[in-house]
Point group: C2
Chain length 232, copies 2
């Protein structure tokens, strides 16, 4: 197989030309990119399907984002970082990104109009692996940060969007003139490993309860349940 | 904070000496390793706790293993690779590894005899991040492969252990003189995207059903359910 891939990689190929403006560099082993865009529904693809590349790319993408968040949000705890990361790598975001980056047009399937959007997100992950294997870790990391994260995400927005359920709830309660109260209903554990349970009352009624290792975390958890149940 | 970490990193430190035989190299910024071993139950740690490092290390570990499996099992599909990876990175394996590598003795908690084993696995993940930040990606990768994977795991064993439920079931059925039958009960989808449903009968009774994109995968899924329900 390897000599076959090599052969294709040196042959002139329109995919190479098409990819340069998207990637910002010239692909070397173009067979890897063909494979990245090939869904398993395509029979007898000479490049093979993209499932193993997707497995690798998914993990690389997650780690590059993890490291990026670790360095760029030095004051945030791992809970916030986990939330933000899952927002970036969730299926819908990746499907949309594949389209925004314009790689959806390269994806080959045999599913016709039944092609689900997840196929584009999966191909995007496979593309990450193709870049990694073709050009190395540094170029792959630069691609993810410069072409994906920086142009399409604002860490501040992501963080606010996710970690301010309490703020969101308070804003709503104030605007709608509703009484609310966060109340510690239980406190367990020794001083170095506390656990708090906080109930949120709205106009005197207990509408949600949250737990956490700090009062702040328990309040946030309670506010999150409240926002969800009130559909805020 | 950074100048403080630098200061500690240059000071002589017994942890440096203790870690050299385990890591196979000399740590540079020893403050990172102190932090990696410090559970959040320790109050006023000058190094900070290890939760953010654990968040980073967990991801790095997973990606290094993913890449290792991708290259070393070129004929295996992503389902098998996913199974093997989850077996390596599961909590219990990491907890045991921390003890085998002898890093459990460095872990600082304030929980006394109530310290759960997961704290050692978490510290191991945090250590991975400390190595990555201190010595770079190449040395971190080499540590994971040479000190963790190669001495403690055999890919063949992992693969057999996980992906041979059918074999395991057949062995048991033969040994116990039980009749069995795998039977395709449903087949859907166009030729390029088949889905099979296979029922497993034991002495004429349907004891499990599995689905998959090939007969082999559906049989494996059915055998897995059967092994689980029969506690084989």
């Amino acid at each position: 197989m390897k000599w076959l891939q090599k052969l294709f990689s040196t042959a002139s190929d329109s995919l190479t030309t098409d990819l340069i403006p998207i990637l910002g560099f010239t692909p070397k082993n173009i067979a890897l990119y063909h494979q990245a865009f090939c869904h398993r529904s395509v029979d007898f693809s000479k490049y093979g399907d993209n499932e193993r590349l997707e497995f690798l790319g998914d993990s690389i993408l997650s780690t590059v984002i993890t490291e990026y968040l670790y360095h760029n949000l030095p004051e945030k705890d791992e809970g916030v970082l986990t939330d933000i990361r899952s927002k970036i790598v969730r299926r819908k975001t990746l499907n949309d990104l594949a389209k925004k980056l314009g790689i959806d047009v390269f994806v080959k399937t045999n599913l016709g109009i039944k092609t689900p959007p997840s196929i584009y997100g999966n191909a995007f992950e496979a593309l990450i692996a193709a870049i990694y294997l073709d050009k190395g870790a540094a170029i792959c990391k630069a691609f993810i940060i410069d072409k994906m994260i920086k142009p399409h995400f604002t860490l501040n927005d992501l963080e606010n969007e996710i970690s301010s359920y309490k703020k969101h709830f308070l804003h709503w309660a104030q605007k709608n003139n509703r009484n609310h109260l966060f109340k510690v209903v239980d406190e367990t554990g020794a001083s170095h490993k506390k656990n708090f349970e906080i109930a949120l009352f709205l106009d005197g009624e207990n509408i949600a309860t949250g737990t956490g290792t700090s009062k702040k975390k328990a309040e946030e958890a309670a506010a999150k349940f409240a926002c969800e149940s009130l559909d805020l």
